[in-house]
């Protein structure tokens, strides 16, 4: 279990002895805090968002009402999830003004900061699947079968068709993301089983299975952020020492290579909409190859 091979993919790297966990070198060079900066920031944001939703029911401080499907902040700011509203539209219901305003605000925001920033900075299931991925790495679990990462796109389309055919928002009957959030905020017991199922799936069946391959909500957000301004850049890619740590921690490892290795003359900006802008690659890189940038920033060294 402690063999290096158990925790990292075959890298074809230099043959020198490799540290056990990704980020080891980064911790050595930048300190623990420096190697977890964005991870801590993300957890802070995730739990702050949850805290804002919970302040009402738990402490009677009503800053945000509702849940991630639709909410009202300070009685004036509506926010609505695009995928759930798309299902509703497919079911041929034209929503009232509040939901429409809310969805426009959400779409504009994520079109700017990267659609899947929702996944890594807001969604409560991210904490669940990140934990599963961490544990899977720790325990060296290699079992299971990963579905094609195109599954989510087909699911996105298929579920909209199913919504149109049934006249109902079909995914919301089973959606682990909205169920988890509702269970936290409104209470509920059975919803936790769904969350545990997602954890088990990611731990035992498919590495990064749920968020990286199946979740149609993530696919919808990815579509939104297709042309987002905020991106991760492999700006100092010439400093890369092929340690592979970024590939190991990345929830969507296929997005890194073209930018990092300048494949076919690719610029340093990670252009894939699947990139969640989580910043873990920035954290774990001991050579400081990555940083946040805007999509037109083609500077690289």
């Amino acid at each position: 279990m402690n063999a290096p091979g158990a925790v990292r993919p075959a890298s074809g790297a230099t043959g020198k002895s490799m540290p056990l966990q990704p980020g080891h070198e980064a911790i050595a060079s930048k300190g623990w805090l420096g190697a977890h900066k964005w991870l801590i920031a993300r957890r802070l944001v995730q739990f702050t968002v949850l805290g804002l939703f919970l302040a009402g029911p738990w402490a009677g401080i009503w800053i945000v009402k509702g849940n991630l499907s639709s909410s009202l902040t300070l009685g004036v700011l509506p926010l609505t999830d695009p995928f759930v509203l798309l299902q509703s539209l497919a079911a041929r219901h034209w929503p009232a003004a509040a939901a429409l305003t809310g969805v426009v605000i959400v779409m504009l925001f994520y079109a700017l900061v990267g659609g899947r920033a929702y996944c890594s900075w807001v969604c409560p299931v991210n904490v669940v699947t990140d934990s599963a991925a961490w544990l899977r790495r720790r325990l060296g679990i290699k079992t299971g079968k990963v579905p094609s990462s195109a599954t989510r796109w087909w699911l996105l389309g298929g579920l909209l068709l199913a919504s149109a055919a049934t006249g109902m928002t079909v995914w919301e009957f089973v959606n682990p993301v909205s169920m988890a959030h509702r269970a936290i905020i409104f209470g509920g017991s059975a919803a936790w089983l769904v969350v545990i199922a997602v954890f088990g799936y990611d731990l035992l069946v498919a590495n990064r299975g749920w968020c990286g391959h199946v979740c149609p909500m993530g696919a919808c957000y990815a579509t939104l952020g297709r042309a987002s301004l905020l991106r991760v850049s492999a700006a100092s890619r010439s400093a890369c020492n092929d340690c592979m740590d970024c590939f190991v921690v990345c929830p969507e490892p296929q997005v890194i290579r073209p930018a990092l290795k300048a494949l076919n003359g690719a610029g340093p900006i990670i252009q894939f909409p699947e990139c969640t802008n989580c910043g873990r690659c920035i954290d774990v890189c001991s050579k400081n190859v990555f940083r946040y940038a805007h999509r037109f920033d083609q500077r690289s060294a």
Partner: protein, 256 residues
């Protein structure tokens, strides 16, 4: 044919895509059927005021719970996946907490999608369900007592529930006052079911679709048509002589 190097890659891609497509579409189909089955509303679950017809409601409600939050009496709740109501949708059970029928309709106003119809501005026009006196064998008024609780608590007293006097055949000397629900005024708030003094309520509020019958569309009520037309539609009728023994009296109500 000739560009051999690209072929294995393309085949692998097509295989992968077919797998993903097949799996995802199968899953969509499964979820669609699951949704259809999970969409049935149990008889004791009532939707908030202004809720669209159940099928439309399930296309419009995005399960955000804003109506639940703005309900001042904690009547509404969101369904847990273990409940029999579609997961995450708002409902209430009249026997537990009835709707207080707020004049300003906070739950309807809170709904961001219009699953609770914003056109509803008068709570007395809400139709959350319909009260039905389901058990005449246990209802105390049917037993000849004067309970009247459902009638007394009704927020639309004397219009949604009236007491209809009837002869008590058992004692043959008393009256029974029968609680009678009128669908043109009953909002389905559930106060009657909540307050019924029996162990199990004799009067219950059901979703309208369950509680209400419907006449054939072609049916006409003769007496209404007659009133509309200002007279009989089939002209004067011939009065036939009643055949009876010479000196026996006419039964009551028969025309001479």
């Amino acid at each position: 044919m000739s560009s051999a190097p690209s072929q294995p890659g393309r085949r692998r891609f097509l295989n992968g895509a077919a797998g993903a497509a097949g799996g995802a579409l199968l899953l969509s189909l499964g979820v669609g059927f699951t949704a259809r089955q999970a969409a049935a509303l149990p008889a004791n679950a009532l939707r908030p005021p202004g809720a669209l017809a159940e099928n439309d409601f399930l296309g419009a409600c995005i399960r955000c719970g804003l109506c639940v939050r703005d309900c001042p009496y904690d009547t509404l709740k969101l369904a847990d996946p273990a409940d029999q109501v579609a997961a995450g949708t708002p409902y209430f059970e009249a026997r537990k907490v009835a709707c207080e029928m707020c004049d300003n309709l906070p739950c309807v106003k809170a709904c961001p999608t219009g699953a609770l119809d914003h056109k509803l501005t008068d709570i007395s026009k809400a139709r959350m369900g319909l009260a039905v006196l389901v058990d005449q064998e246990t209802c105390l008024n049917f037993l000849g007592l004067r309970c009247d609780v459902c009638y007394r608590v009704c927020p639309v007293i004397d219009r949604a529930i009236t007491l209809q006097r009837r002869h008590n055949e058992r004692s043959d000397r008393h009256a029974m006052l029968i609680p009678t629900v009128h669908s043109d005024a009953c909002t389905g708030c559930g106060k009657c079911e909540k307050s019924c003094v029996l162990e199990e309520a004799a009067i219950k509020v059901f979703p309208i679709a369950l509680a209400k019958g419907m006449l054939g569309r072609h049916y006409r009520k003769g007496w209404e048509e007659e009133e509309k037309a200002g007279g009989s539609l089939i002209g004067d009728q011939t009065q036939l002589p009643a055949r009876r023994p010479e000196d026996s009296p006419l039964p009551r109500g028969v025309l001479k």
